[in-house]
C-alpha cells in the first residue's frame, strides 16, 4: 500500500557487509526485510543507495528456494467495508525493487497472486486455508508497479516475450457480485 513508502525498512540477517565508498549494503543469511505491510524474504539482499538517496534493493533466492514478497494492497476508499486485499509474489532467481519508481521485477519461475484475507488479518498471522486467491499469474518474468498496482508478465527471463519460450498462465477469478 502507498503508506508503506513512508515507513522505515527493518532488515534481519546473519551477516552484513557495507562498502561506504560505493554505498552498497549487503545482508546475507536468511534475510527478512519488512517495510510497513511489505515483507520480503530471501537468502541475500543487496541495497544500493543512489546519490539522490533512493534505495535499490535486489533480493536473491537461496538455491532451490524462492525469494518471496508480500504486501497489502490499497483498498477502494469509497467502499464501505473494504476487503482485506493483499498481493504476494515469489521468484526463483531474484526480485529487484526500485524505491524511486516503486516497481518490483521478479525473475525466473515468477508468480504473483492477488489475495483476499479475512478482515483485520495480515499475511503474518493468517492461516493458509483462510487465504482466498483472486488472481494468479505465472511466467518467467513479472514486472509489478506497486504504485499503479499494474503488472505485466513475459515468458523469458530478460523481460521480453519471445515466441516459443514457454507459456504464461493467468487465472483471473470472477468478481463476486456485491450482495
Amino acid at each position: 500500500e502507498k503508506a508503506d513508502s513512508e515507513k522505515p525498512t527493518n532488515i534481519e540477517a546473519d551477516q552484513f557487509t557495507m562498502d561506504d565508498v560505493k554505498q552498497v549494503k549487503t545482508f546475507t543469511g536468511n534475510v527478512i526485510m519488512t517495510r510497513g505491510s511489505m515483507k520480503m524474504t530471501g537468502a541475500k539482499v543487496v541495497v544500493t543507495t543512489d546519490p539522490a538517496g533512493y534505495q535499490f534493493a535486489v533480493l536473491y533466492a537461496a538455491p532451490g528456494d524462492f525469494a518471496k514478497f508480500s504486501q497489502k494492497r490499497d483498498s477502494d476508499p469509497n467502499v464501505a467495508s473494504p476487503p482485506n486485499l493483499w498481493i504476494d509474489g515469489q521468484a526463483a532467481d531474484r526480485i529487484e525493487y526500485d524505491d524511486k519508481t516503486e516497481i518490483a521485477k521478479l525473475y525466473k519461475d515468477a508468480q504473483m497472486r492477488r489475495l483476499e484475507l479475512p478482515k483485520g488479518a495480515t499475511m503474518a498471522d493468517v492461516k493458509p486455508q483462510d487465504i482466498k486467491v483472486t488472481d494468479k499469474v505465472n511466467g518467467q518474468f513479472i514486472l509489478y508497479d506497486s504504485r499503479a498496482e499494474f503488472y505485466s508478465v513475459n515468458n523469458t527471463v530478460d523481460g521480453v516475450s519471445k515466441p516459443g519460450a514457454g507459456r504464461i498462465t493467468a487465472v483471473l477469478q470472477p468478481k463476486p457480485k456485491q450482495p
Partner: protein, 199 residues
C-alpha cells in the same frame, strides 16, 4: 748418596706443587672479588608497573613525520612484563589526512605489541563526523580492538552502530576506516529510515 738426591727431588716437587696451588688460589680469589653480587643471585623479573604518566597526550607520527593518531588519557601505566600500557579513560583521535577523522573513547584501554594494538574496554564509543565522501558513523560496544597503524577496528562483542540515520546492531564487527568497508558477523538487525526525497 743416592737416597740424598731422591729425597731432595721429592722435597723439591712438593714445594713446586705448593707454589702452583697458591697462584691458582689467588687467581680464584681475584675472580670472586670482581664478580658483582647480582650476577650471582638471579633477581626475580619485575611484575609491578615501573612508571606511570598522568593526563598524558601521546602522538604517534607516520613515516613521513605527519601525526597519525594521538591518545590522551587520565593515566598511562607501563607494565615492564610485556611492555604494555594500561590507560584510564583513553581518547584516541585518528589524524591522518586521507581518512575521515575518527574519535574513540572508553573506560579503560590496554596498548600492547609496541603500540600496534589498542584494546578498549567498557562503554566504548567510536564517532566519525560526516564528510562529503563518507557517512556519519557512531558505534557503541563493550569491547573494541583498534589497530591504529592500519585504521581498523574489530570487536567480537555486541555492537550497536548508526550510519547516517540507519541503526544497526549485531555481534562481531570489522571496520576498515581506510577502505571504508564494514562487516557485522552475527544476528544483524538493521533499521533504515524511509528515504526522505520523494518526487
Amino acid at each position: 748418596m743416592k737416597n740424598l738426591r731422591s729425597t731432595f727431588r721429592l722435597r723439591f716437587i712438593m714445594l713446586l706443587l705448593l707454589c702452583v696451588a697458591l697462584t691458582l688460589g689467588s687467581f680464584w680469589m681475584v675472580e670472586v672479588m670482581h664478580k658483582k653480587t647480582e650476577e650471582v643471585i638471579p633477581t626475580p623479573a619485575r611484575t609491578e608497573p615501573d612508571y606511570y604518566v598522568d593526563n598524558f597526550n601521546y602522538v604517534q607520527m607516520a613515516i613521513d613525520g605527519q601525526p597519525r593518531y594521538n591518545i590522551t588519557g587520565q593515566r598511562l601505566t607501563h607494565n615492564p612484563m610485556d611492555d604494555s600500557f594500561d590507560v584510564i579513560l583513553p581518547v584516541i583521535h585518528s589524524l591522518s589526512k586521507d581518512n575521515p577523522p575518527m574519535t574513540l573513547r572508553s573506560d579503560t584501554g590496554k596498548i600492547e605489541d609496541n603500540n600496534s594494538k589498542v584494546n578498549l574496554y567498557g562503554n566504548v564509543k567510536a564517532d566519525r563526523l560526516p564528510t562529503p565522501t563518507s557517512s556519519e558513523f557512531h558505534l557503541k560496544s563493550e569491547y573494541l580492538l583498534l589497530l591504529p597503524d592500519d585504521d581498523i577496528i574489530k570487536s567480537d562483542k555486541f555492537v550497536e552502530m548508526t550510519l547516517d540515520q540507519s541503526v544497526m546492531t549485531g555481534t562481531g564487527l570489522y571496520a576498515n576506516n581506510a577502505t571504508r568497508v564494514m562487516k557485522l558477523f552475527k544476528n544483524v538487525h538493521a533499521n533504515i529510515p524511509p528515504s526522505t526525497k520523494k518526487p
